[in-house]
Symmetry: D2
Subunit: 381 residues, 4 copies
Amino acid sequence: MLLTAKKRYIGTLSGAGFCGVTDGAGMGDFFDGTNNEKKQMSVTTNETGEAVSLKRKKLKKIGVLTSGGDAPGMNAAIRAVTRAAIANKLKVTGIRRGYQGMIEGDFIPLKSSDVGGILQLGGTMLKTARSLEFRTAEGRQKAYQQLKKAEIDAVVVIGGDGSFTGALVMSQEYDISFVGIPATIDNDMYGTDYTIGYETALNSVVEAVDKIKDTARSHGRIFFVEVMGHEAGLLALTSGIACGAEVILIPESKEQIEELKKFLKKGYKNRETSGIIMVAEGDETGGAVKIAEEVRKKHPELDVRVSILGHIQRGGSPVANDRVNATKMGVAAVDALLDDQKSIMVGLNNHALVHVPFNKAVKLNHSIDTHLLDIHRLLNV
Amino acid sequence: MLLTAKKRYIGTLSGAGFCGVTDGAGMGDFFDGTNNEKKQMSVTTNETGEAVSLKRKKLKKIGVLTSGGDAPGMNAAIRAVTRAAIANKLKVTGIRRGYQGMIEGDFIPLKSSDVGGILQLGGTMLKTARSLEFRTAEGRQKAYQQLKKAEIDAVVVIGGDGSFTGALVMSQEYDISFVGIPATIDNDMYGTDYTIGYETALNSVVEAVDKIKDTARSHGRIFFVEVMGHEAGLLALTSGIACGAEVILIPESKEQIEELKKFLKKGYKNRETSGIIMVAEGDETGGAVKIAEEVRKKHPELDVRVSILGHIQRGGSPVANDRVNATKMGVAAVDALLDDQKSIMVGLNNHALVHVPFNKAVKLNHSIDTHLLDIHRLLNV
Amino acid sequence: MLLTAKKRYIGTLSGAGFCGVTDGAGMGDFFDGTNNEKKQMSVTTNETGEAVSLKRKKLKKIGVLTSGGDAPGMNAAIRAVTRAAIANKLKVTGIRRGYQGMIEGDFIPLKSSDVGGILQLGGTMLKTARSLEFRTAEGRQKAYQQLKKAEIDAVVVIGGDGSFTGALVMSQEYDISFVGIPATIDNDMYGTDYTIGYETALNSVVEAVDKIKDTARSHGRIFFVEVMGHEAGLLALTSGIACGAEVILIPESKEQIEELKKFLKKGYKNRETSGIIMVAEGDETGGAVKIAEEVRKKHPELDVRVSILGHIQRGGSPVANDRVNATKMGVAAVDALLDDQKSIMVGLNNHALVHVPFNKAVKLNHSIDTHLLDIHRLLNV
Amino acid sequence: MLLTAKKRYIGTLSGAGFCGVTDGAGMGDFFDGTNNEKKQMSVTTNETGEAVSLKRKKLKKIGVLTSGGDAPGMNAAIRAVTRAAIANKLKVTGIRRGYQGMIEGDFIPLKSSDVGGILQLGGTMLKTARSLEFRTAEGRQKAYQQLKKAEIDAVVVIGGDGSFTGALVMSQEYDISFVGIPATIDNDMYGTDYTIGYETALNSVVEAVDKIKDTARSHGRIFFVEVMGHEAGLLALTSGIACGAEVILIPESKEQIEELKKFLKKGYKNRETSGIIMVAEGDETGGAVKIAEEVRKKHPELDVRVSILGHIQRGGSPVANDRVNATKMGVAAVDALLDDQKSIMVGLNNHALVHVPFNKAVKLNHSIDTHLLDIHRLLNV
């Protein structure tokens, strides 16, 4: 019996049911293409109770790679891809150092035991790298030859939008199927509510700011804390709410600078003023160092400090959600390949697994939940 | 301009859009009643950019209490309720020790600064208690007199289904408005995807099992780890996936015992067998101690141990999601009172705030995501 | 130039300078024997600035094993032993599953890269086991034959007193040199201030009790928390001070039960009484379950709960001190073998590395620092 | 019976028994003065078993303040001072914001319950500040008048060497007794093995570097990680050992730069080179940013990054040792005042409590344990 009979799991993304992405205008044609018919979950339960997959294609061996910035949970995804493939009688090859390793044939066979004990580890056991060579036709040709030589028919790419673009280009040139799993701490991709690593990064930021707050309060200091997120303010906004930050500066809202001015004016009158000002690295104020410099000039009476959290946001043992979501998406990626899908990213949308075509799964910032900004302002009484 | 013009935030729960609760049968009449018309988010932004609320009722003072088992994030909810109320010119009274404190008039005034610095603390600053007296008509009458004496018109109840039942009964007898915020580590309430405390408990379990796994592997031992969750297996199932548990025993699935037998048979042949068997406290096998005892008898060759995680699952600093969700729901609860709502629980459904009538928000287990069980079986290769 | 010229590092243990072990009576003859002359640190710095060791014996290959209960930091010790040996041109063999693996010839070669990335992991990569067979002459003969076959001349044993006793017996029968590194979370060995794993376990207990305290306070409950430590109360006492426990029950002090009675009497008058009662598993009251049962009978008005921390105390990533001490002792153990030492345990005494003969390094409880009990009583105002 | 009869607890510091401070030259006259006679622990046990203190002076009320940089464990010390004083029938006044609060009379009474629940919190509930005014005679006169007005006879100062210098100057001008408790994450004071906060900071660094290492390995990157410590390399060296750093740059050793060159030369040949280079903020290379810049120029083939850990090293819940040591030293400080001591710092030396005169307890770096550098070099095979 198909699972999908009891539970719609991998669904089609249609404009109506898709919330969280507010730019509704382009939604109609956004998720069409390969995704336009109902997907079914091909994990099934046979009569003896064992989970098997209906193989609709004669896949024999798949590759798996991680690409772009590392994110906690990538190892959990590698494990899920490897074991789901083996459970379906596929062979699995680990491609090390992303596309650069693909070009160089830096391959290792993966057995079930090779991915034992990695579920809870940060980083990626397959390593990751940027490859300029892969952007050239020659580079991709070499990569294709290496895959053919190793008899790899399809590849699961764990990474961000740049990694999927690379896959898309190559898939248009050569008969290799690519399926993507979104993994980036920025959580800035269309079509999925979660990207692997975001929740761990969020909690790492929160733990760090909790510590900084101890010092801020003890000294009556104002800390400008800069967090990652590229051009997006999501991480800064969410962690700011979670930490009770006094002000949150993000690129998506220009009004926040007024909040800062109000806070500083209030602080001027109170010698014990302390506070956390969250600053998204992409904020147009120019980052924590620059804005702190300006504040110091205008308010020499305040004790102003800067903390740039940097790479401690990126590593560490993944939190439960990143492990579970990575596992779900890893299984779904193999399932998609068995289902003869290609050039799609698996994603999670309102807790349901979905397929998103690569050409849509680009890096477009989730619009900020402006309600959170309203809440923040409201609670700052 | 109303926020809701740009973003549907507090929506109506209708059968169609409501996923995550699979018992669709009763859905039609499940969320009718007070929830049957569109709710609007009454937090608005006036022309000068300040967030204000349209007060539709002449509320002057509200009470807030925590009731039932403590859950990490309760303090974050208390803070949000208090500050959102003050921002709306309401006075706030903290009712200590739940309904028992209501009966005894154990009240403290709450100013904005009283809830400063509690966001990141586990437990509840208002304490919580069970009250047998509140189950009697006399008890509730005393409680009402205390509220009247203190000029409290409405109460925000942070707790589980038992707490809401109490509120419902009292609201039918006296003219006190109650609004609920779901807080329980069991995440076992209809109408909301999240209850405050669940995600922190989940991560506490995962951290604990990661540690136990070190020992299991080092010694070739099999650990039966019992986790909380009352009659529900959600916590056991999710943490089991997150930790790579070998077997997961939950009340919702009788087939899992076969998985255990298979695992043990395999282990019999391998002297280095180690494994984590997650056991939901409500599992019909009778809990970790009982099932381990039986396994020891049948497999004296195996080194079998038991670990009952107990109360370490309940406390601790809340993870980011519990803080953010508690803050959202705290603001929404005050908003609902201002909006003249009563006898409803605020909840989060597919990331949107919703209202659920108390008589529906009872403790009905989320049906288990059986797809997770399939995934688990699949990866156990 | 010898390091020891600038810094006395490995010293002799003499009665006078040895504090922390209060049973001074037997001290005179306690550390005589092989330890009676000044040891020198044989790590030296040659003229080109490289650290080298003077090899005084023609050692070629050493084995390393972990034995007894696992303790966080064992991996750090394995890494240090392996790399210090390789730096001294020795080959290294990992003996898996302790003495049982020695008997079965369960050996793996260890290169420098094999121990990369294990420093921060809990448990032991070499696994550990109990071996009844090793207690027999036949077992030890097999073990010797395996070692000879593998050309292993000397073995570093990472474990507790039972492990060292085994080594001592075998060393008296066969020409194998054994050097021990103390690793047990109980910190219950003569001759060393620290055993690997104790500090990590201590912090795991403290973190767990911090969480339980959230619940105890929120509910006005009294928790009896049972911690490990065999017959010793050290872990219970120290964690009790660190957590602000109301009462601490340890086998070393019979007066503590009076403290409990006083606390309960006080609690009787106060409905909000909450408290943490730390109970050492070896306490003569019979453990947390039994004492809680009695208290419940006598004080039915109190809300009494039990939490047995169990195996979460044993695993986890080692804290900084356990990593550093394991590294120091690992290097010192190799150094001792090169220095032709045998049947000694390396230890840390007042921050200095010392050698302790196996026949002295038995499991004798550190006498409890009763000053801590006085402090505890004093602060309970 | 005096405790000291059974256990020498507060001892005299004499040159011979004092290890850990290697600059033996000045030791003879270093700890003379008020400390030249045996101290006795004045906590005693009377016949009914209660701990009491022999009051040798008619102290009635003491003040307690925190000064200088905040350090985790300061709250535990405040709690111990407050409760030990109350247990001895003294009144206690909290002086907020260090000496500046003393000048301004920013005082709060402290009862036992006021310091409940602060043991595990980072920062300082009394806040801390720098005071330029206290450096003037006028400032100190104001401070004295405030103390007199509040009837405070003696003050416990929790802080670093600057704080003790201030206390020393004031004690020479006015009849106020000061006793100090060393609290600084730099652990850079003569006369005590531990200062409150160091161990927590050490573990915060280790956790952060563990995370950064995930990324370093995944990308084949070289991270220069800058840690606090003022002019001292202790924190960098110890955390470097604990994290398996490839190179450790500290001001105390000029040879380390050669280690860096060797490492980079090796890396040049290996495209997967990754590594952690710990840099003490006081290192003469000029800090992580500067040295990384130079390395980037010479080795453009390497992927070099910088992480300045900053203030996350300073806050957070104290580890067990910092809590226990803070508690011991808090009790000892009160005891010293009752014992009519003044102008001394309490400290821990080889696990024993000691008194160190303020004029000796200046900030002189612990000489680095160069053995750790040798170990580091040895293990880098």
